[in-house]
């Protein structure tokens, strides 16, 4: 279990995080959502050990995170950054092999894992390409493969693995947004604890086991999508009026923003009927 226990981060007079407690268990996908500047990335930096909280503690199991060496931590926790700049002409395979840096496995084994990770991230066709020539979305998926390669096998002695994704869908097209989150779900099935910072509430609703909502550095709601994604919570956190309906095909809520000049009643009537018709036919 990766736990942030009453953590606060203060920088000068501004408070980036204010008394937030969240936990990430192996085998679950936790989505962190919130408006820009709500503290999502700061929370992720704390959980990855990149930053230490001003108050409170972050623990991995029972041990405070800062008592782990960077090396030990890297064998059980991988982080996908929002942007990874890399001006040097590595091949895609070499970038993915960087994920094996903390491991002392043989080169042939690393090669095998790198290729399998490329498959899992759906970018095996880019194997021999030069990294700087890829599109932004392709680069992002190559880095996903790199993080998968980093935590591909369970560490010995066995301990849980964690995957922290900072806006993994930011530069991806619709198909690949879903592909990445399906990969996140498969990781959870392999007992990896996955945290994903997301902007799209419907992606969060569809793929996360739990959602944590941040506003101005505070945790305003946390729990399963069905209980967290209410019009009240979203109005409070994002200042946007939404309707919540049932997803016609999946067992999760569907969030629909309401245009500001439309009375919400009219929309709810015209929107819900065709959707519910379709779902009864299906």
């Amino acid at each position: 279990m990766l736990v942030a226990d009453h953590v606060s981060v203060r920088l000068g007079r501004s408070t980036l995080l204010d008394d937030v407690s969240v936990h990430l268990a192996p085998g679950e996908v936790l989505a962190v959502v919130g408006a820009n500047g709500a503290g999502k990335t700061t929370l992720m930096r704390l959980l990855s050990g990149e930053q230490t909280p001003t108050e409170g503690t972050v623990r991995l199991g029972e041990t405070p995170l800062d008592q782990f060496s960077a090396d030990d931590l890297a064998r059980c926790r991988a982080v996908l950054p929002q942007h990874a700049s890399l001006a040097f002409g590595f091949t895609v395979e070499e970038v993915v092999l960087l994920g094996r840096t903390p491991h002392r496995t043989r080169a042939t084994e690393d090669d095998e894992i790198a290729r399998a990770a490329l498959h899992a991230a759906g970018v095996h066709h880019l194997l021999g390409r030069s990294y700087p020539t890829l599109s932004g979305g392709e680069q992002q998926r190559v880095h996903l493969a790199r993080t998968l390669a980093q935590i591909w096998e369970a560490p010995s002695p066995p301990s849980p693995r964690y995957l922290l994704l900072d806006e993994p869908t930011a530069s991806l097209d619709l198909a690949h947004q879903h592909a990445v989150l399906r990969t996140a779900r498969r990781c959870a099935q392999a007992d990896v604890g996955v945290l994903a910072v997301l902007h799209d509430l419907n992606l969060a609703a569809q793929y996360a086991h739990r959602i944590a909502v941040l506003k101005h550095g505070q945790l305003v709601a946390e729990g399963p999508p069905a209980t967290v994604l209410t019009p009240e919570v979203i109005q409070h956190a994002f200042d946007v009026a939404v309707l919540i309906t049932d997803h016609p095909r999946a067992d999760c809520p569907l969030v629909v923003p309401v245009p500001e000049d439309t009375p919400s009643g009219a929309w709810s009537a015209s929107l819900s009927s065709p959707l519910s018709n379709e779902s009864t036919h299906a």
């Binding site: 950054p81 840096t101 066709h125 021999g128």
Partner: protein, 379 residues
């Protein structure tokens, strides 16, 4: 890999994604690496053999081997004269070996700096070691005569070298301290502080010129243009260890520097102690460049251009880049020194002029090519 708990089993890859796995044939990296390194090593040996043989007293490669074998008590069929033996052992060999050490030291430091700054245009001079060394050398050349006699006699012929070495290290330490807050060194601040201190040192060196007489001015000018002419077996013994330490430590840093190319935070996530790596890289580069500059003056462009050439040929992997840069840097400096000796024989062209004449156009070509390729030169 423990199969039971590996992601590979749980991550059932959907059919569509595995339909046609293109089995790209990737060149076996290990054998390519061996090929490149042994090729560069052989080239260096050939360059050394030519360089020790060419000059006012010609010595054929056979005679070179014969003279060296004679030192070990072996008798080879190539006859040589006593004069050739004297020239080879007393003058040429230490000079060529100094070229190897200085060239390798500058090039490997350049590769380390470019890795640390994540910028293919970084140069060992960025951290102030070269301009600090120049200021130290200028101080000694201009004001050395005013030193108390016992210090002057203790320093002997190494006065300028010691002053340059100390100056280079001092400025590097200042740059490092300015850019380090608590336990974190900001690489971007280091770059900017380096620029400022380079300018200050340049102003200091320039002011000293006002105090020089003609002889001192000539000494100073030639020092800033570089030369391997001062090579003796003693200089080799003094400089060699600093460069050898950098060469010995570099392979241990290779994986860390590869990870650092992704960014410091990413390297940390991959388990790298980034602060330790920064400290070690700066120390190694400052010592190697400081020592090399102390005995040979300012030799530009080797540290900048050589790692770049290697990267163009075999990619940015530091496991090959670092040793290959050392070998190529040594070869190029031995060749440049040979040119500097023979172009206007019996006089010498300062070696810094040769490396700048070859290096500067290459640097410009890199800039133009980099723009076309969309390199990100920012930090």
């Amino acid at each position: 890999m423990s199969q039971a708990s590996s992601l590979s089993l749980a991550l059932e890859v959907p059919q569509a994604e595995t339909a046609a796995p293109p089995e790209t044939v990737v060149a076996p990296q290990a054998s390519r690496r061996t090929l490149v390194l042994s090729g560069l090593g052989a080239t260096l040996l050939v360059a050394m053999l030519l360089a020790v043989g060419i000059g006012a007293v010609a010595i054929s490669p056979g005679q070179v081997v014969s003279i060296l074998a004679a030192q070990l008590g072996l008798d080879l069929p190539w006859a040589f004269k006593a004069q050739q033996e004297l020239v080879l052992l007393g003058i040429r060999l230490p000079r060529v070996l100094l070229g190897v050490i200085v060239g390798a030291g500058l090039a490997i430091s350049g590769a380390l700096m470019q890795g640390l700054f994540r910028n293919p245009l970084a140069d060992p001079g960025l951290i102030g070691v070269s301009s600090g060394a120049a200021l130290g050398a200028a101080l000694m050349i201009v004001l050395g005569a005013a030193l108390p006699g016992f210090i002057a006699s203790a320093l002997g012929a190494f006065g300028i070298a010691v002053a340059a070495f100390v100056g280079g290290l001092l400025v590097t330490v200042i740059v490092y301290r300015i850019s380090t807050r608590g336990r974190h060194t900001s690489v971007a601040t280091m770059l900017l502080a380096g620029i400022a201190l380079n300018a200050l040192c340049g102003a200091g060196t320039g002011s000293l010129v006002l105090l020089t007489d003609d002889n001192q001015l000539r000494d100073l000018t030639f020092w800033t243009l570089g030369s391997l002419g001062g090579a003796t077996w003693e200089t080799l013994l003094v400089v060699g260890p600093f460069v050898l330490v950098a060469m010995a430590a570099a392979p241990r840093l290779a994986r860390a520097l590869n990870a650092m190319l992704l960014g410091e935070a990413e390297a940390h996530h991959l388990g790298i102690n980034t602060q330790l790596v920064k400290r070690v890289v700066i120390a190694l580069a400052a010592l190697a460049v400081g020592a090399a500059t102390a005995v040979s003056g300012l030799i530009g462009f080797v540290g900048l251009v050589v790692p770049h050439l290697v990267r163009l040929a075999i990619g940015p992997d530091h496991r090959t880049l670092l040793p290959a840069s050392a070998l190529l840097g040594a070869t190029l400096l031995v060749a440049a020194d040979l040119l500097s000796r023979v172009v206007i024989q019996p006089a010498e062209v300062p070696i810094g002029i040769i490396t700048a004449l070859g290096g500067a156009p290459f640097f410009l070509a890199l800039l133009l090519q980099g723009r076309r390729r969309g390199y990100d030169f920012s930090l």
